[in-house]
C-alpha cells in the first residue's frame, strides 16, 4: 500500500471553508479513524482522498506522488458508503463482481446492449465467479448471492457493500460511517467483523465516524476533527487519557470528561462558588485553571469528607456499573457554577452504588488522573 500524506489540505465551497489546512500521515496497514461531530468535514476529507471531491488547497500524496488530480480509478481505492450505494437492479453476485467485471471491460463493451452481454459473460468467467464466491463466503453472503438488495436486511446490505469493496483487493479502504444506519446490536457485531477484516487483509483502512465507541474500539490511530480543523491526532489511549483540548475531552468518552473551573489558592483549589479543598497532586503554575476528570477517576464519599460537595441528581444503573450524575454545590449548599457547560458531574461506580437521588455527598478523585486545561485557550496544560 502506498503511504498517504495530507499536507495543508483544504476544502472550501466559495466562501464556505469546510476544511482548513490539514496535515496528516497514514501509515501502511493502519486503521485510521476520522472522528468528529456532524459537519466537521470528515466525510469531505474522505471523499477528497477517494477523488470524489476536489482538493481546494494543499497536497495529497500517494507515496511520493502528488495525487490531487488523479482520477478516481487511478487511485485504486475501495469506498464503502454510509448509504450502502448498492446497485438495486443487480443481484448480490452482480454487485460484488461489478468491480472485477469493470477491470476487464473494454471501451466498446460500454455500448448499449453490448454492455449487458459483456457483463454477463465476464461475471460468469471462472476467475471472477470464484473470487466472488470466496468473498461472499468470507462475509457469510453465500446463500444470498441471487437476491437483490431490496430483499436484504440492513446488516446484509452493509456486508454486500463491504464485500464489493474487498473483492478488488485494493491497498486502501475508505469507509464513510458504514455502521450508522444499523441498530445497536448489529453495529456492535459489525464493528467486530470490520476489525477482524482489517486484521485479516492487513490493508490500510480510513474510517469516518461520529461515534466515539467505534473510534475507540477499532482504531489504531484517531484524528479528531472539529470545524474543519484537526483537534488531535493520537492513539485511542492518548486521545482518551490526555485530550489535547476541552473539545476532545468532551467529545470522546461517555459520559464525557468532567470539566471544573477552579482557581489556585496556595495548595488549595477554589471553585467560583467558594468551595475549597486541598489538591494532593501537582498543579500547573497559573492562577485560573480548568480541572478535567474522567468519571472513572472520581469517587463518591460521605458528606463532609475533603472534596467537592454535591447532590445526586441522576442515577443510571447499567448493571455492572452505576453512573452517578451529581450537582456540584457551593459553600452555601446551593448549585455551584463551577461546572463548565453547567453539566452534571458524573462518577462511574462499579456495581450498584449505594446512593439515591437527592443524597448529599462529597466527590473525591484520583489526583494522578487529573488533566489541566487553560481556561482561555482551552488547551491541555500538562
Amino acid at each position: 500500500m502506498p503511504s498517504l500524506t495530507l499536507s495543508g489540505v483544504g476544502k472550501s465551497y466559495g466562501d464556505n471553508m469546510i476544511i482548513r489546512s490539514l496535515d496528516a500521515y497514514v501509515e501502511d496497514g493502519e486503521f485510521l479513524v476520522l472522528l468528529g461531530p456532524s459537519g466537521c468535514g470528515k466525510s469531505t476529507l474522505l471523499r477528497m482522498i477517494a477523488g470524489l471531491a476536489d482538493i481546494t488547497s494543499g497536497e495529497l500524496r500517494f507515496d511520493d506522488e502528488v495525487a490531487n488530480d488523479w482520477s478516481v480509478s487511478r487511485r485504486g481505492v475501495a469506498f464503502v458508503f454510509q448509504s450502502y450505494a448498492l446497485y438495486p437492479h443487480m443481484t448480490v453476485r452482480g454487485n460484488i463482481s461489478f468491480p472485477l467485471v469493470m477491470d476487464r471491460f473494454k471501451k466498446w463493451h460500454h455500448l448499449p446492449f453490448v454492455n449487458s452481454i459483456a457483463r454477463r459473460r465476464l461475471a460468469a468467467s471462472p476467475e471472477i465467479r470464484d473470487k466472488t464466491d470466496r468473498i461472499a463466503a468470507q462475509l457469510e453472503l453465500g446463500p444470498l448471492l441471487n437476491r437483490r438488495p431490496a430483499q436484504l436486511s440492513g446488516g446484509q446490505r452493509q456486508r454486500v457493500a463491504l464485500a464489493r469493496s474487498l473483492v478488488r483487493d485494493p491497498a486502501l479502504y475508505l469507509l464513510d460511517e458504514p455502521l450508522s444506519n444499523l441498530d445497536a446490536k448489529l453495529r456492535a457485531q459489525m464493528r467486530a467483523e470490520i476489525s477482524e477484516l482489517h486484521h485479516a487483509v492487513g490493508k490500510t483502512f480510513v474510517y469516518v465516524t461520529h461515534d466515539q465507541v467505534e473510534a475507540m474500539t477499532m482504531a489504531t490511530r484517531i484524528i479528531v476533527l472539529d470545524g474543519g480543523e484537526v483537534q488531535q491526532i493520537g492513539t485511542p489511549d492518548e486521545i482518551y487519557t490526555t485530550p489535547a483540548n476541552t473539545f476532545v475531552a468532551r467529545f470522546v468518552g461517555s459520559p464525557p470528561m468532567n470539566l471544573i473551573d477552579v482557581r489556585r489558592a496556595g495548595d488549595a483549589l477554589v471553585t467560583a462558588g467558594g468551595t475549597r479543598w486541598i489538591h494532593l497532586g501537582a498543579v500547573p503554575d497559573q492562577q485560573e485553571l480548568v480541572l478535567g476528570l474522567r468519571p472513572e477517576a472520581m469517587m463518591v464519599a460521605p458528606q463532609g469528607s475533603p472534596g467537592l460537595p454535591a447532590e445526586v441528581a441522576v442515577l443510571e444503573r447499567l448493571g455492572g456499573e452505576t453512573l452517578v450524575g451529581c450537582r456540584v454545590l457551593d459553600a452555601a449548599g446551593e448549585r455551584d457554577t463551577a461546572m463548565i457547560h453547567h453539566d452534571l458531574c458524573y462518577v462511574r461506580v462499579q456495581g450498584r452504588a449505594p446512593v439515591r437521588i437527592g443524597d448529599r455527598l462529597t466527590l473525591t478523585y484520583d489526583p494522578a488522573a487529573t488533566v489541566w486545561f487553560d481556561p482561555v485557550s482551552r488547551r491541555r496544560l500538562v
Partner: protein, 274 residues
C-alpha cells in the same frame, strides 16, 4: 376490504373499461356495417361479419400497408431520436452545473407553449431551404422538435431521483461515466424511459398537421393523412375509413401493451438506506 367495497370497485373498473373500449368496438361495427345501413341510420350494434370480405376488398384498394410503414417509420424515428437525445440532454441537466442551466430549462417549457400550427409556416420555409420537403426524415425531425423537450424533462426528473452515491460507487468500481449512464442510471429509470417512449411514439404515430403540410407525395403519407384523404366532396366510405383506422390502431395498441409493463415504480428500492 368488505364485499360491498370490492363490488363497487369492480363496477367502477367495468364502467371505465367500457368507456375506454367502446369507441374501438364501435369502430369495428362501423367498419363491418354496409354503407346502406350506415347512411340510413340502421347500423347494427353487433359486428356484421358477413361484410368482412367487402371490407378487406375496399381496404385493399388503398396503399394502407405503405402508409402504415410510413407511420411506423415516423413514430419509431421520433421515439428513438427523442430517447437518445433526451437521455444525454436529461443527464447533462440533471448532473452538471453550468451557466444558463435555468434558461435551458425555461426554453424546454417554452417549446410546449407554442402550438404546432403557429410554427408550421416558418418550418415550411425552413424545410424548403434545407431540402426536407417530402422527406420522411424531415417529418421525424419536426416531431422530435416537439417530443424531445418532453422526453428530456421526464428523463431529467427521473435521473434527479437516482442517488448520486450510485454513480460515485460506480466511479470507485472503475466504471467510466458513459458506462455508468448505460449500466447503472438507465436501468433504474426504465419506467420513465417507457413513459417518454410512449409520449414520443404517439406524438409521431398521430402526426397529421406537419405530414399533411410537408408531404405532397401520396406514397410518403402516413395513415393519418391517408385516412383524411378518404373524405370526398360527395361521398365518404365510412366502412373503409373505419377499417383502415382499425388497422392503424392495432400496432399502437400492441406497442402500448408491451411498453406499459415497464411503467412500474420502485426499481431503486434497496439502493441506499431508505
Amino acid at each position: 376490504m368488505t364485499a360491498v367495497r370490492r363490488s363497487f370497485r369492480g363496477l367502477l373498473i367495468l364502467v371505465l373499461v367500457v368507456f375506454a373500449g367502446f369507441p374501438v368496438y364501435w369502430m369495428l361495427t362501423t367498419a363491418l356495417a354496409s354503407s346502406g345501413d350506415l347512411f340510413a341510420g340502421r347500423q347494427s350494434f353487433l359486428p356484421e361479419l358477413q361484410n368482412l370480405p367487402e371490407l378487406l376488398r375496399s381496404i385493399g384498394d388503398v396503399p394502407i400497408l405503405r402508409w402504415l410503414g410510413n407511420t411506423v417509420f415516423i413514430a419509431v424515428g421520433t421515439t428513438v431520436i427523442s430517447l437518445v437525445l433526451g437521455t444525454i440532454g436529461g443527464y447533462g441537466l440533471s448532473r452538471y452545473e453550468f451557466r444558463g442551466k435555468g434558461f435551458v430549462n425555461f426554453l424546454l417549457f417554452m417549446t410546449q407553449v407554442l402550438p404546432e400550427a403557429l410554427i408550421v409556416v416558418p418550418l415550411y420555409a425552413m424545410f424548403i431551404a434545407l431540402g426536407l420537403l417530402n422527406s420522411m426524415w424531415g417529418l421525424v425531425l419536426a416531431n422530435v422538435g416537439f417530443s424531445l423537450p418532453v422526453s428530456m424533462f421526464i428523463l431529467k426528473s427521473a435521473m434527479d431521483a437516482v442517488p448520486r452515491e450510485l454513480e460515485e460507487s460506480a466511479a470507485i468500481d472503475n466504471c467510466p461515466r458513459f458506462g455508468t449512464l448505460m449500466m447503472i442510471v438507465l436501468p433504474l429509470i426504465a419506467p420513465s424511459m417507457a413513459a417518454a417512449a410512449v409520449i414520443a411514439f404517439f406524438a409521431g404515430w398521430n402526426e397529421f398537421l406537419f405530414a399533411s403540410t410537408f408531404l405532397s407525395d401520396q406514397s410518403s403519407w402516413p395513415v393519418s393523412v391517408g385516412l383524411a384523404s378518404f373524405i370526398g366532396q360527395y361521398d365518404t366510405p365510412l366502412a373503409s375509413v373505419m377499417g383502415s383506422a382499425l388497422v392503424f390502431s392495432v400496432p399502437a395498441i400492441v406497442f402500448f401493451l408491451l411498453v406499459q409493463r415497464k411503467i412500474v415504480s420502485g426499481l431503486t428500492a434497496g439502493a441506499v438506506k431508505g
